[in-house]
Symmetry: C2
């Protein structure tokens, strides 16, 4: 069965706003074995909306219309669906009462216009929306002689997503043939995309019953495996078998078997080894620390560190001898090593990590071009160093370098 | 004239990929006075694509079809447009030669399939694509008796965007009635959204010929003013007049009159005052440093700083007396003040900035709840302090705190 998502709202036809709910809905639909065939974005114009709804019903079986359910004049989804299907809207007494009760709780006046949120399509089931004033609607109907399922759901993400999960998914599950879905997410770091494809394509292409999606972004590769079968056991067995073969092929590029982020894995290993980490960052300017501290509870293993943007601060905060910088330059494996060891000693951490490089756009030389970055990790006994030459603009160099730094510490801890 | 953008590619119907090119194209279209009425996302299925193209031509005058121009079997845009309009495709000899030349440069073999990229719609103009192998196409034609402009452009952003700018925009400009567009972007920090609206709505609603868009995100408000007139002078005059009134109303909430980011403005003022900055971050964990160092050339005014995640590091890197932390707690205006002054002295910067707070989800107490953040900025003579209580999840608290920290330093420098 084909489905379409229509996102309603003129703001999504500006350069400033994008529909993101549909990514969430698509993930949930895929998990019950449904695919999305079309997405349409349409403004708050009744004629456009009626046309888009009719087009969708002519080409798909399941239609989700998102947004346009509020109380303002611009909110036209109810009226447009009614017109597209030649249905009447009736004002629901229990919904009117609920709107009055809501206004009373908030001590707000209740303009007459607000009551249009209680207008329900003939034959529709009301979908409860605990996070907002406009309920959703579920309609099991026919269009040009074919059965169609239509859902009207509110646009704000904090209303749309829970309502879809609790009110729509179970109803869709009851209509669809019983299917069980197994899902696994594998992640790997710093493996070149072409190499990953060369390693993995011969494997996953033989599993035609498992849908494999590969997403590559700045040194991070995420593989999503999805299998739908008539029993959960059968689905799990296929996904796990394929995951096992891919894990083997990815070898130590693989860092996560259940979708965890690289920084989560680094913190997991730090906890396991009862180790602590401190970071001295030059060109990444705080990005490594920021990714680590984004994980709740990171303070158990992450002490902090220094953003040593100037040469002087490399000395002030990590005791790098000025003569060493003078001799080898700030961007060198020697300075990276001294930085890692210096920040470790200063903070008393088990491990010190250092990043020093040239993010660009200026500052490059023939011998040390923009994109050159040195990394070091030290425990006082042994220092691992890596040198990389990233391509692209400043933000790309910084993002790649952050990923490489986290991967270096992961490999050290593994 | 109404326009529609069709983004072609099954990957954009997964939970993992989103069309972002259309935001760029929309901005460029708006700047020449055109609006986008519909956006459609369709997979790599010929029947779906032909249907989507016909639907678009029936409801709009200008159609941009993006993606599906590559060499693989999945790339069906050329064939689908030909079918939808009953046009023939002819293989263009000069394009075939260009493809061969390209393959030779890259020392790549030239599979027969690749040549389909040289297939041009009858009557179409070839749009040069210096960043990729598939050219774009421009078609000025009729559909059901109405004139239609159709553009086929490649999907990869680094091909799509320059090709659209150099090949499509001038052609659209020549077709459209001569209009001149003036644009201004104003930005303000940390003003509550409702207060901004209360201040600004009475002003901008009286300028019905200027389109004002308000975008609010975590303590940042961006106002885009767009006006289209038959002379550039007239358009500029209206936009500048409205901008002037809004600037006055926003008073010192306003930080940018030309769209610069908050961190750019901070760096601009630091340069103007010949001042340098160092930062000690606790709960923001590197986010302030990261935003500042994202700006090219930031090393001229930004020395660096410390991520003082643990209490010990607040002493190690910024000489905060342990007794002060013991007495007032790490999250206090006293410790924020000591941190700001400590990091300033240690680094030799003109100004020291400090952030200490509770990002959550745990670590809050009744007296010091999750979301409480103290800020301080010091030049050794005078310290400005701010206390804020942000709501929401960890990443929200951190993002708001980062914005507040940058705004505090801006206000100090102004």
């Amino acid at each position: 069965m084909k489905s379409e998502i229509i996102a309603v709202g003129s703001e999504m036809l500006t350069p400033f706003r994008q529909d993101t709910n549909s990514l969430y809905l698509t993930e949930k639909l895929n998990e019950i074995g449904m695919t999305v065939a079309f997405k349409t974005i349409v403004g708050d114009r009744r004629k456009d909306l009626v046309g888009a709804i009719r087009t969708a019903l002519a080409r798909t079986d399941i239609l989700i219309v998102m947004g346009g359910l509020g109380p303002t004049e611009d909110d036209l989804t109810r009226e447009a669906v009614a017109e597209a299907l030649s249905l009447v809207l009736r004002r629901d007494a229990s919904q009117v009462a609920a709107l009055h009760a809501r206004a009373a709780t908030w001590r707000m006046p209740m303009p007459e216009n607000n009551l249009k949120q209680a207008d329900i399509l003939a034959g529709a089931v009301i979908l409860s929306n605990p996070n907002g004033s406009a309920p959703g609607q579920w309609l099991d109907t026919t269009f040009s002689g074919y059965r169609k399922l239509i859902m009207l759901i509110p646009g704000p993400p904090n209303e749309c997503r829970p309502l879809f999960d609790t009110e729509c998914l179970p109803r869709l599950g009851a209509v669809l043939p019983a299917r069980f879905i197994a899902k696994r997410i594998l992640r790997a770091a710093m493996i070149p995309e072409s190499q990953a494809d060369k390693l993995l394509a011969p494997i996953y292409t033989t599993y035609t019953d498992v849908e494999t999606t590969i997403l590559a972004h700045m040194g991070d590769i995420q593989l999503t495996l999805l299998c739908s079968k008539s029993s959960l056991e059968a689905a799990k067995q296929r996904v796990d078998e394929l995951a096992g073969r891919m894990e083997e092929a990815l070898d130590d590029w693989l860092y996560s078997s259940e979708g965890e982020s690289l920084e989560q894995i680094v913190l997991y290993y730090l906890g396991l080894r009862q180790s602590t980490l401190a970071v001295a960052e030059s060109c990444t300017g705080g990005m490594v620390s920021q990714r680590i501290t984004a994980v709740p509870g990171s303070s158990r293993s992450f002490l902090g560190g220094a953003v040593v943007y100037s040469n002087e601060l490399k000395t002030t905060f990590a005791d790098v001898p000025p003569a060493l910088i003078e001799r080898y330059g700030a961007v060198s494996s020697e300075v990276a090593t001294a930085l890692a060891e210096g920040i470790r000693k200063r903070t008393g951490a088990t491990l010190g990590l250092a990043i020093t490089g040239i993010a660009g756009p200026t500052g490059g030389t023939e011998g040390k071009p923009v994109g050159l970055v040195h990394f070091a990790v030290s425990d006082g006994q042994k220092t691992d160093i890596v040198e990389r030459n990233f391509r692209g603009a400043r933000d790309r160099v910084r993002e790649w370098a952050t990923q490489q730094a986290l991967d270096l510490i992961r490999r050290r801890l593994m």
